[in-house]
């Protein structure tokens, strides 16, 4: 077997050193009732590399890929072009096959990257500090709500109706057995009143208000008035960003007064991967750093006075604090953070701004074209690269029929909000730099035909 270096001669020699008559003797502690004498039935036996490729290649071939045709699906995961050098760097064995940097003297590569990543995330979100990543945007948001409870010693989190419904569901799951109280709101097509109503609802029990920008319908809003209302009541403003490219063009949450910014970083450096692995971003104000969850990399010096980096403030973490830890998180998304940092280093400020401007301009162009189709109304007035259509018929079957015509046209609100009939005609459309004019033509024609 190609991954196993020991030969039968090695095994015999080593058993002699160990003083065991055979391999079974090393498993003597296993109760008799649970011992297996042969390979487990019902599973295939070992395979040459070529056959594994054939098997998995056949499964892969059954999927319709994002690059295979016109593609406009978003709602929390976005198709962007990732430069080839990003994948080259993350496949270097020194990054790919290393562990969490517990021995900093021989992990400065990973640690310096994390320090660079934290700095990039803090600057992008307009915050002072950021951690070394979380699992994904949804779990980062949930951790932000817990952190707000620790900071304010209050229990009520008020969640905007524009937060991605899957994120809200994750928050509900993970607060089911804690003493947090999560107050949610039902979405509708015109969320204009949402922020004002949230601002009016903030009270002395509110630990935080959670709002997404751009929200799940694509709507971009000024959060400054809401931030002011939160701060007047002693609550924190948590801002969720699921399309991180937007931060190249849209005013940062930090500038608008956010106290904690969380996000999904997949758009920079990471592919769609059917939903994972992704990259949770977490940034906050420096005064709250000791309440933060997750790993943190900090600068220090070595015994010779040379600059170096270490994991720090670990007295917040589970391996030291055990049941009193700020979070149970251990392994997070290190390699996805590396991909993010490499891609953002390639883009730089000028590249990110241009990429964001390109996304916005293309989205505006497509929105104008689709809005002219009979039976289609663009309901999102201010947006970045994603907007919501209200169709004259239920959107879920429309999305399926578009796929039959080779167009992956978006996400129906019926899928995101099953059971809310008022949203059934809604469809969220995302446009990135990857969509061509020919894709626009194909989408326009197909939608026109399906709705006719």
């Amino acid at each position: 077997m190609r991954y196993l270096p020991l030969t039968d001669t090695d095994r015999r020699d080593m058993l002699r050193v160990v003083g065991a008559p055979d391999i079974d003797a090393l498993f003597a502690d296993v109760p008799h009732a649970a011992r297996l004498d042969a390979p487990i039935a019902g599973l295939s036996h070992h395979m040459p590399e070529m056959l594994v490729e054939r098997h998995l290649g056949a499964l892969a071939a059954k999927n319709m890929t994002a690059s295979g045709g016109p593609f406009f699906v978003g709602a929390g995961a976005y198709k962007h072009h990732v430069p080839a050098s990003v994948d080259h760097i993350i496949q270097r064995g020194e990054f790919l096959t290393s562990y969490t940097p517990y021995q900093p003297e021989i992990a400065q590569g990973t640690l310096q990257v994390l320090f660079e990543f934290q700095t990039q995330v803090a600057r992008l979100t307009g915050m002072e500090v950021a951690n070394a990543s979380m699992y994904d945007g949804s779990t980062a948001m949930t951790e932000a709500v817990f952190m707000a409870r620790r900071v304010t010693r209050r229990k009520v989190a008020r969640v905007s109706s524009g937060v991605h419904p899957h994120y809200v569901n994750v928050l509900k799951t993970l607060t089911r057995f804690t003493d947090d109280e999560v107050v949610t709101r039902l979405p509708d097509f015109t969320p204009d009143d949402d922020l004002a109503e949230l601002a009016a609802a903030v009270d002395g029990d509110t630990s935080c208000v959670v709002v997404q920008n751009p929200n799940v319908f694509g709507h971009v809003a000024d959060l400054a008035p809401l931030a002011a209302a939160c701060h007047a009541a002693g609550a924190l403003l948590v801002v969720v960003v699921t399309e991180v490219i937007s931060l190249g063009l849209v005013r940062s949450p930090g500038e608008m007064g956010a106290d904690i910014v969380v996000g999904e970083g997949q758009s920079i450096g990471n592919g769609l991967n059917f939903g994972g692995p992704y990259l949770g971003l977490f940034a906050c104000r420096e005064k709250h750093v000791r309440m933060m969850p997750g790993r943190l990399c900090g600068e220090t010096v070595d015994a010779d006075g040379r600059r170096g980096f270490v994991l720090t403030l670990s007295t917040r973490e589970q391996h030291i604090r055990r049941e009193k830890a700020t979070s149970n998180i251990c392994t997070n998304s290190g390699l996805c953070a590396l991909a993010f940092t490499v891609h953002l280093s390639l883009l730089g400020e000028s590249g990110l701004r241009k990429l964001a401007a390109l996304n916005h301009a293309r989205a505006v162009q497509l929105a104008d074209r689709l809005g002219r189709i009979p039976g289609v109304e663009v309901v999102t007035r201010a947006f970045f690269n994603e907007f919501t259509l209200r169709l004259r018929q239920e959107a879920r079957p429309v999305v399926r029929k578009l796929a039959d015509k080779g167009v992956l046209g978006g996400v129906s609100l019926g899928r995101l909000y099953p059971g809310i009939a008022a949203l059934d005609h809604g469809m969220v459309v995302a446009v990135t730099e990857t969509a061509t004019d020919a894709d626009f033509d194909a989408f326009e024609d197909a939608l026109d035909e399906v709705l006719a």
């Binding site: 270096p5 020699d13 050193v17 391999i23 296993v30 649970a34 011992r35 487990i40 039935a41 599973l43 295939s44 070992h46 499964l59 892969a60 999927n63 319709m64 994002a66 995961a77 096959t97 290393s98 562990y99 992990a107 400065q108 590569g109 990257v113 320090f115 660079e116 700095t119 699992y135 994904d136 779990t139 994750v170 799951t173 057995f177 003493d179 931060l247 849209v250 005013r251 592919g271 059917f274 939903g275 994972g276 943190l296 900090g298 220090t300 070595d302 015994a303 040379r306 391996h319 149970n328 392994t331 280093s345 883009l347 730089g348 990110l352 701004r353 293309r362 007035r381 201010a382 399926r400």
Partner: protein
């Protein structure tokens, strides 16, 4: 930014202390030493107007951002592609990695990461599909998840598996949420979770997160759960016992079946931490021992790369009693078609309406699923059994080759499983500790073993070689460990207290880092203003 100064490598200090230092160091203009290359931060190299990506021109349109355009600079330096490749390549060379040598980090299962897995995960049919595409367009992806689920449930003899947890600790959370939901569903408000004192820190952290009080159960003199003490503590207030098996001392719990029986008799559930599944995969099915839930770290047993701290993947297998409470979404086969069940209310039969809900935005770590299935298919049921056998043989070989020099607290009780545990008792009186030994091992060109875990022995050193090490590789590690230990016992302590001497950095001041945390780079002017 980009001021050309390299603050990480000050000009070597020619002061009298420098002359008195033990080693002659060659001074260089750059601060580099041969292939050991220093690298500044990208914030010291790049510039905001430099870019390594060519983008098409932006069409002129009227902005529809609602006046929310960004005005202030962000502060993100860019670099050309050659400089980016060089920056990260230079940084990579300051890392130790499995690709370079044995990585014997106990409880972490740092085995070889096959490159076939990387190739398969990058097939566009897996890497370039969106989690919210219509079901009909992702049948191959759903089939892959279903096949991996079949492998996991068959290898563990458990009826159900939740695929979405993103790492081991997230899997623990999944398991404990199901346990809490199951108790709540029968109106049973139990308050306590029992955790052995040797448990990984995530176990008590997870139990506390689910609203439970955590109580420790002691180990016996042989490093196993004290069955009598546990039986005595079980009662109507205990919701679950969280057990790692093989345990964190690298030992199989011989009373595991009796433990599970006792826990069930008390109306509680057994959560098994599957971090050490590599020791028994293909030889023991945890379901046969009577457990109710166990997470499986695909990034340990099933060879997906650790990536310097993730991403991982932690699917959780469930017993029939807990299966109805498993999270959403999940994949279901209906005839020849695969469905992704995202909402409990969407189910006609509603056999999953007890689900505790969603744990992540989408469906879990697809990229890790592909790699893990690629690995399982490569090994097959026969190869996986050999994996466990070789992993255990390698660990016992290390244990017996070192026990005359190192203190091996449980060696007398019989063979270990996949990892060998030592304490630093043999260093008593030298003034040296496990930390010093680990740092000396760095100079020998190895990544050290896990240090100071588990907490149940003094100065723990936990060595997990894994099955992908050859005998020659083990012999070299053993030789180095014997040499370092022998020298630590015989020679003056000072040289060891200051090791490593040959790594890219000497010992780093972790106390200073925590006392005054510097977590982001600041412009020198900004720092000066803050002083």
């Amino acid at each position: 930014m980009g001021n050309g100064r390299w603050p990480s490598c000050p000009t070597p200090d020619p002061s009298p202390e420098g002359e008195g230092s033990k080693k002659e160091e060659t001074m260089t203009y750059t601060g580099n030493r041969g292939l050991m290359l220093e690298e500044p931060l990208l914030f010291e190299k790049g510039a905001p107007d430099r870019c390594g990506v060519d983008l098409p021109d932006v069409p002129a349109v009227a902005s529809r951002l609602g006046g929310l355009d960004r005005h202030r600079p962000i502060g993100l330096p860019g670099m050309s592609e050659p400089d980016v490749v060089r920056h990260f390549t230079r940084l990579s060379r300051q890392n130790y990695a499995i690709d370079m040598g044995i990585f014997p980090l106990g409880s972490c299962t740092m085995k070889h990461n096959p490159r076939l897995n990387e190739k398969m995960a990058r097939l566009p049919g897996f890497a370039d599909i969106h989690p919210l595409q219509p079901e009909a367009t992702v049948q191959g992806a759903l089939a892959l998840i279903d096949q991996l689920a079949h492998w996991l449930t068959t290898l563990t003899n458990m009826p159900a598996v939740a695929m979405s947890p993103k790492a081991g600790a997230h899997g623990e959370l999944c398991g404990m949420l199901a346990i809490r939901a199951a108790h709540d569903a029968r109106g049973d408000a139990r308050k306590v979770v029992l955790v052995p004192e040797s448990a990984h820190g995530t176990n008590p952290a997870t139990a506390a997160f689910c609203g439970y009080a955590v109580e420790n159960i002691p180990a016996d003199a042989r490093g196993r759960v004290d069955l009598a003490a546990m039986r005595a503590r079980l009662g109507p207030d205990v919701a679950a016992v969280m057990i790692t098996n093989p345990n964190t001392c690298g030992l199989f719990e011989p009373d595991m079946i009796a433990i599970c029986d006792a826990v069930h008799a008390a109306g509680a559930f057994v959560y098994c931490d599957g971090a050490n599944f590599n020791a028994i995969v293909g030889r023991v099915r945890p379901g046969d021992l009577g457990i109710d839930a166990m997470h499986i770290n695909l990034h340990k047993t099933f060879s997906t790369p650790h990536g310097g701290g993730g991403p991982g993947s932690g699917p959780v297998v469930f017993s029939a009693a807990l299966a109805p409470f498993a999270p959403l979404p999940f994949v279901r086969k209906v005839g020849e078609r695969f469905e992704l069940v995202e909402e409990a209310q969407a189910l006609a039969s509603n056999d999953h309406d007890l689900s505790f809900g969603r744990m992540v935005a989408f469906h879990g770590q697809m990229g890790m699923f592909v790699r893990a299935l690629s690995y399982m298919l490569s090994h097959g049921a026969d190869g996986l059994r050999q994996v466990a056998e070789d992993a255990v043989l390698n660990a016992n070989y290390v244990l017996r080759s070192l026990e005359d020099v190192f203190t091996a607290p449980f060696a007398a009780s019989g063979p270990c499983m996949h990892e060998a545990l030592f304490s630093d008792d043999f260093l008593e009186g030298t003034g040296l500790t496990t930390l010093d030994l680990a740092k000396a091992l760095i100079d020998e060109g190895f990544h050290p073993m896990t240090m100071y875990f588990p907490l149940v022995v003094h100065g723990a050193m936990l060595v997990e070689p894994t099955e992908t090490e050859s005998k020659a590789s083990l012999d070299q590690l053993i030789g180095a460990l014997r040499s370092v230990a022998t020298r630590m016992l015989a020679e003056p302590a000072e040289a060891f207290k200051t090791s490593p001497h040959l790594a890219p950095r000497r010992r780093l001041d972790e106390t200073a880092a925590a006392r005054r945390p510097v977590l982001t780079w600041r412009e020198p002017e900004e720092l000066a203003a803050a002083e």
